[in-house]
């Protein structure tokens, strides 16, 4: 019995320490909010209440009297505050802070350590308590079209929050969302987090839907100042439906009564116009499923093929002596069609574009939270919010960007003390800049921290067996290491990094978007990560090449330059084929060998072409037989059977219904690396 109690007591101490740790974080965040805005977000107060509530319940089960008494009184105090019966004040935060320290000491005592803590003075202060808040306005739920099951399952706190939202004149929406059962928890949490930035998710009720046995539905009660359309835009990916629970607001800005009519014309009778206008809706936008746009884009691609066929026909007609004039007219019309098809394509792409400011707020918030967790101070500056890119691309960009921000805050920015002694402002600077360059979007994430610590990275890489101990590494190599899978320089695992999701995840994500990432760093000055992605993947400009009697497309975004040379100019270094390009050693990859197209070497032409493509920080050359030209291509994924093939991004159609493969330079070069490592062993 005693033994099991010992074990249980140990469980208690672990749990209590956990709770107190969270409590410290939440108190700090709440105090920060209070100092900045004079009030604390309700869900934060509620979380603090819940923590105290858990601690009290737990302590009472173990007959830990003093912890129970203190946490009980604090729980009641917090309960009054979260229900709006008492007000928060600066004194409250110092009281809560001191109480937390006392509780920590009491927990230490419980496991037989620490000094006797006197809680009597604290109890007295708590009962003196916070100033009572003005009587709640007593807003009724009048007019609120709330279904009974939602209303009845509201906790006292949720009901209070609903009243508060009504008192603040917020709109109240019922948002019904459905998710697949496999991942509803992560998706609903993400949605809730997003909505919480724009209002308050008051309650979350799971509801049965017999029609959708494999999924699960939730009905959220959401209080906000946003319009119905704005809320709908937020839940579109969860196939959400939004219902406004309040009757339409009476028009507050009624037509001015003071203005005198200028003429003596008989006035229209004073009966109000019927509300027909309301049905028209305020916004003249239409929401479209992006798949529909993809379908339209596909049709445009097919039209391009038809156009190419016409072009050829026109050429053939023109070649017939007696129809030359007719042929010339046809060619003219085909050119016009080409232009119009181009316009059409651009318009469709334009529909998919959204300003990047849509994710800026989220990045800003994440950065602040991460900084707080890491005990660092940061000022976040965001530029170029109006820069537009494909909605799909933007959604994909969020995670890699957050990883980079994490990295900057964790490893880049120094703790305030270290910054002061380095004669830098105590507050670190994180600048995120987005801009357009040609058909690409560039996003720079710059911090003014300590820069990449090359020694540390080298040591960590050796420790993790990524490089040999005495290997000579250039600066470029070192920058490469931070993108290696599994690499972490963290000596201990913290909340924000070192959990196995490193910068390698970033590079993979960016490469999947046919983008690139590079990094600059200066010791003591800071680091810049630069992400370049195409504005859209719906249509890409490709370089069409020929190799081993096959045609391939290489996305222009990854091509730096092309040149013509001869086989005899290729050199061998370390058994690898390289080319000396303006003093730079360019590793080469033969496309025909890579895809097993070469059977007979002898018949090969001496003249070759090299396509120089980016490979992370560096470049590599792809050897091909001929360059055919540039073309806009719609890339189709290869499907499950071939989708995993390294070096292939998908397939596309070019004229005469010919289907060709689109090269994925990133994964093509990954294999080049692997080949090198094998060769040197």
């Amino acid at each position: 019995m005693d033994k099991s109690r010992d074990k249980a007591l140990k469980d208690f101490v672990v749990e209590a320490e956990d709770i107190l740790e969270n409590l410290a974080e939440d108190l700090e965040a709440a105090q920060e909010q209070f100092e900045a805005r004079g009030k604390v977000k309700p869900d934060r107060i509620n979380k603090i209440f819940r923590e105290m509530h858990s601690l009290k319940g737990l302590a009472s089960m173990f007959n830990l009297e003093r912890i129970t008494t203190l946490s009980h009184d604090l729980e009641s105090l917090l309960d009054r505050i979260r229900l709006g019966k008492s007000k928060a004040s600066p004194a409250l935060f110092s009281l809560l802070g001191e109480s937390r320290s006392a509780l920590r000491n009491l927990v230490a005592e419980a496991q037989g350590g620490g000094e006797e803590t006197d809680i009597v003075p604290l109890l007295a202060r708590i009962s003196g308590g916070a100033a009572p808040a003005p009587e709640p306005a007593g807003v009724a739920f009048g007019g609120l079209m709330l279904d009974e099951s939602t209303l009845k399952s509201l906790t006292e706190y949720e009901e209070h929050r609903l009243r508060e939202n009504l008192a603040e004149d917020n709109r109240i929406y019922s948002v019904q969302v459905g998710f697949d059962f496999s991942d509803f928890d992560t998706r609903l949490r993400a949605l809730t987090e997003r909505l919480s930035d724009m209002g308050e998710v008051i309650s979350t009720l799971p509801v049965m839907d017999a029609a959708q046995a494999d999924g699960i539905h939730f009905r959220l009660l959401f209080g906000t100042t946003l319009s119905m359309e704005q809320v709908e835009a937020q839940v579109v990916d969860a196939s959400g439906t939004v219902t406004d629970l309040l009757p339409p607001k009476a028009e507050k800005t009624a037509p001015s009564q003071t203005a005198e009519p200028e003429t003596a014309e008989p006035q229209e009778p004073d009966t109000p116009e019927p509300d027909f206008e309301d049905f028209r809706g305020i916004s003249n936008t239409v929401r479209v499923d992006i798949e529909k746009l993809d379908a339209v884009m596909g049709i445009v691609g097919e039209l391009n093929l038809v156009k190419a066929a016409f072009e050829q026909l026109a050429g053939r007609v023109q070649a017939i002596e007696e129809h030359r004039e007719l042929g010339a007219d046809m060619t003219k019309q085909v050119r016009l069609m080409t232009r119009k098809l181009g316009d059409l394509q651009r318009s469709i792409i334009d529909i998919r574009l959204v300003p990047i400011s849509q994710i800026f707020a989220r990045l800003n918030r994440t950065a602040r939270r991460l900084a707080r967790n890491a005990d660092k101070k940061v000022s976040v500056q965001l530029y170029g919010g109006e820069t537009e890119l494909d909605k799909m691309m933007m959604d994909e960009l969020v995670t890699p960007l957050i990883h980079i921000i994490r990295n900057s805050i964790d490893h880049g920015l120094e703790p305030p003390g270290e910054r002061l002694s380095a004669e830098k402002p105590e507050e670190g600077l994180l600048v995120i800049t987005a801009y357009q360059k040609g058909n690409s979007i560039i996003i720079d994430v710059t911090d003014d921290g300590r820069g990449l610590q090359e020694d540390k990275i080298r040591q960590a890489a050796v420790r993790q067996g990524l490089v040999k101990k005495d290997a000579t590494l250039t600066r470029e190599d070192i920058l490469d290491i931070i993108f290696q899978p599994g690499f972490t320089s963290a000596e201990k695992v913290t909340e924000v990094s070192g959990r196995g999701v490193g910068l390698d995840a970033v590079i993979t994500a960016i490469q999947q978007m046919k983008g690139n990432i590079s990094v600059w760093s200066e010791p003591g000055k800071g680091t810049t990560f630069q992400i370049t992605v195409p504005i859209t993947l719906a249509i890409i400009q490709s370089l069409i090449v020929e190799c081993g009697d096959q045609i391939f497309a290489i996305p222009i975004s990854s091509v730096m330059e092309t040149f013509r040379t001869t086989l005899s100019d290729i050199q061998l270094v370390d058994q690898r084929e390289v080319f000396n390009l303006r003093g730079m050693t360019l590793p080469l990859l033969r496309l025909d060998e890579r895809f097993g197209l070469t059977k007979d070497r002898k018949g090969k032409r001496e003249r070759i072409y090299v396509v120089v493509a980016r490979r992370g920080e560096k470049a590599a050359g792809i050897v091909v037989d001929d360059l055919i030209g540039e073309q806009e291509t719609v890339v189709h994924p290869l499907g499950q059977t071939f989708g995993h093939l390294a070096g292939v991004a998908g397939a596309t159609e070019i004229g005469e219904n010919q289907v060709i493969l689109v090269i994925d330079t990133a994964s093509l070069f990954t294999n080049l690396e692997a080949g090198r490592i094998q060769a040197s062993h």
Partner: protein, 122 residues
């Protein structure tokens, strides 16, 4: 086959106290969830004959869970017991109003827990 009981409680030590007591004294299989979402997943997967739930939890709270269970074709009659505290009196009252069958107030003894559960076991 032994009866399956689900314990929904976000506090690890508290949950472990409850599950240990049920394990030791009753011939039931105890499953645990540390939040409402985990509970929803378990509910879909197993056939529980009794559910004990806390009220104050993140994501979805105990009342929302009870309301859901009461409209669920399989769970509409399964006994639900609320684990509450004296401060949670109002919410406990609401829980009973939407169909919970009984409650425990912290602190409770092992005996009280086992007795109440036994009363409601089918």
């Amino acid at each position: 086959m032994r009866i399956k009981v689900l314990v929904v409680e976000d506090n690890n030590a508290m949950r472990s106290l409850i599950t240990t007591a049920l394990d030791q004294h009753l011939n039931v299989d105890v499953y645990e969830a540390d939040n409402g979402f985990a509970a929803l997943k378990l509910i879909a997967e197993y056939d529980f004959k009794m559910i004990l739930t806390d009220i104050n939890m993140p994501d979805i709270n105990g009342l929302e869970l009870i309301a859901f269970l009461r409209q669920h074709p399989i769970y509409k009659d399964v006994p639900i017991l609320i684990i509450s505290t004296e401060a949670g009196e109002e919410d406990r009252r609401r829980g009973l109003a939407i169909g919970a069958n009984g409650y425990l107030t912290k602190p409770f003894t092992e005996g009280e827990l086992v007795n109440l559960v036994q009363q409601h076991l089918p």
